[in-house]
């Protein structure tokens, strides 16, 4: 039985993105102590990213050093990744759960004749292949699924696993087999990138902490309180639909059924009642804090910690306390 697992590396500046390092953690568990974790990187500066793999102990890295991959969509890598996986006889391909990884999984699975799952929170090697667990129905349920047929492709839910650490090892790069891009796959081209619009905060989808505000903040100016708390925490800012519908903040911030699904380590809901359409977007967060003046608000039923009271008093106090303990 093969014991090779391939991890596809996503770039973050010159190094490896955090989700890739989480994928390496999962790959190590699947490969076991005797197995091999193999890296894969593509694009200009791929060698830099390959070094990022070596820095966390993955020395053997397949490199497709071709600048044409840089402007291509992630899914364009499906065939080169599949080729590298079959060349190495890998039984699993693991990617981080960012948009990069999620766009890649389906194509790799088809190209490889493998089964697949996105957003897994557990992965275990079994004789038939790989068993995964994942939240479904907006975190209201979990499913366990056996990926059979000898090959499995999966992406890892952000923050579900620790990012892999060293010790570093020496880099042994090897050229990617069959890495000539097919013209059709390169037809879509990225022409520009604008950094996340709302200042320095992390993107909603992959933030470790999210602070969301609702109608309770009363006005666009009131909503600043949420942003100040988020800033102090280094958190991303979310909103209920009441806020985005009223035009206080852009719809890109909306969390819920018709907005984004988030699952941070910590979700703080401020002045949000907890309608089911909001809950489906955030209930799988690890720890939930609710601040609301109505002690019977449904949000308190899913929260771990509740503060019943006036947000206009509580939030500034919390922001000050966070700044104090973080020494800024």
């Amino acid at each position: 039985m093969s014991d090779v697992v391939l991890v596809v590396g996503e770039a973050d500046g010159d190094g490896l993105a955090e989700p890739t390092r989480e994928a390496v953690t999962v790959a190590r568990r699947l490969a076991g102590s005797q197995g091999t974790v193999l890296g894969f990187v593509a694009g200009r500066g791929a060698s830099g990213r390959a070094a990022g793999f070596a820095a966390i102990g993955v020395g053997q890295v397949v490199v497709a050093d071709d600048p044409r991959w840089d402007a291509a969509p992630p899914a364009a890598l499906a065939r080169p990744v599949a080729a590298a996986a079959s060349n190495a006889g890998a039984f699993a391909v693991v990617v981080g759960g960012s948009s990069f990884g999620r766009d890649l999984v389906g194509g790799v699975a088809v190209a490889l004749g493998a089964s697949a799952a996105n957003g897994v929170t557990e992965a275990e090697r079994i004789p038939e292949g790989v068993r995964v667990r994942r939240p479904v129905f907006g975190g209201r349920a979990t499913e366990e699924r056996r990926l059979e047929g000898g090959r499995a492709v999966l992406s890892v839910r952000p923050h579900a696993f620790p990012a892999a650490e060293g010790p570093p090892t020496s880099l042994r790069p090897e050229p990617a087999p069959n890495a000539e891009p097919a013209p059709a796959q390169l037809a879509p081209a990225r022409t520009a990138v604008a950094a996340a619009s709302r200042g320095a905060g992390p993107g909603l989808a992959d933030a470790a902490i999210v602070v969301s505000g609702g109608r309770g903040l009363r006005s666009p100016e009131g909503f600043r309180l949420v942003e100040e708390l988020a800033e102090a925490l280094g958190a991303a800012v979310g909103a209920s639909r009441a806020v985005t519908d009223a035009g206080w903040r852009p719809t890109s911030m909306q969390v819920g059924q018709t907005g984004r699904t988030v699952s941070p380590q910590l979700y703080i809901a401020v002045g949000i009642s907890g309608a089911i359409q909001h809950l489906v977007g955030m209930v799988s967060s690890r720890v939930i804090v609710a601040i609301n003046s109505d002690p019977s608000a449904p949000i308190f039923r899913v929260a771990d910690y509740g503060l019943a009271g006036d947000l206009f008093e509580l939030v500034p106090a919390l922001t000050a306390e966070v700044r104090r303990v973080r020494g800024s």
Binding site: A75, G107, A109, G119, E144, R151, P188, V193, D304
Partner: protein, 261 residues
């Protein structure tokens, strides 16, 4: 432009969620399957593009048994789709996504020309978000997911769109054909009029045998479906004044929940 939209039947959001008798999948007894969330938005996007590009047609395709697909296809017709194809399969809900993708690819290829293939970002039930990329690969089409603000630039004969991802907003362009996973969700997509709903009841649906769900060598098998024990409800923090409330909460997050940096 020939626009094909893939619409998945998903359990109505309000329906009660529980496991089936064997505990392997959600119970579908008495559950109504509907066109929902991102797929409804994908239909809206297709109709907006048809409006903007004269001569365009919108085709809806759905895979599953007729008891589930027909309802959503008629909903897509009532909203204004020109035609609807049921890719008939006995696959259970939350079936293997790769088998679904292969079935969809066969039905789409058999239906006719396709310049733009639209998917929702992820379905509200299994939330795989991988059927789009898999179907595209099976059809040999390039795929881009997490797409918002999709437009067609007729002069340049190119699609222009943005991709909303972790590190910001990317701008993209692409010639046709292309497959796209849409992240855009309209809070107020159009609603069907009563005459359109009545007409859609009688409209013909094209049928295509997509074969059993297990047509793929490598497949996944659902083993367990479980609802988490209900959360116990919040630990309410009693406090004297806002400062004390804040320091208590921070202490609990640090020492008990261990989430605070």
């Amino acid at each position: 432009m020939e626009i094909v939209v893939c619409v998945k039947p998903v359990p109505e959001a309000e329906s009660r969620l529980r496991a089936n008798a064997s505990g392997t999948a959600p119970d579908t007894d008495g559950v109504k399957f509907v066109l929902a969330g991102y797929d409804e938005s994908a239909v809206e996007q297709a109709l907006l593009l048809r409006q903007a590009v004269p001569g365009s047609k919108v085709h809806a395709v759905s895979l599953g048994p007729p008891s589930r697909t027909d309802e959503v296809l008629r909903a897509a017709l009532a909203l204004g789709s020109d035609s609807a194809t049921a890719a008939e399969s006995d696959a259970p809900p939350m079936a293997d996504p790769i088998a679904t993708a292969r079935g969809l690819a066969t039905a789409i290829a058999a239906r006719g020309p396709c310049d733009l293939l639209l998917f929702g970002k992820q379905a509200g039930d299994d939330e795989e978000g991988l059927v789009g990329g898999a179907t595209a690969e099976a059809l040999g089409l390039p795929f881009v997911g997490f797409v918002v603000d999709l437009r067609f630039d007729a002069a340049a004969s190119r699609l222009r769109f943005r991709r909303s991802v972790e590190r910001g907003e990317e701008s993209w362009e692409s010639p046709l054909p292309l497959a796209v996973g849409l992240q855009q969700a309209w809070n107020d997509p159009r609603t069907a009029t009563l005459p359109a709903i009545l007409r859609s009841r009688k409209a013909p649906l094209a049928r295509h045998a997509a074969g059993p769900g297990a047509a793929v060598a490598a497949a996944s098998v659902a083993e367990r479906f479980a609802l988490p024990p209900p959360r116990q409800g919040a630990k309410m923090i009693a406090y004297r004044d806002p400062q004390q409330a804040a320091s208590q909460l921070v202490r609990l997050l640090r020492e008990e929940a261990k989430v605070f940096p």
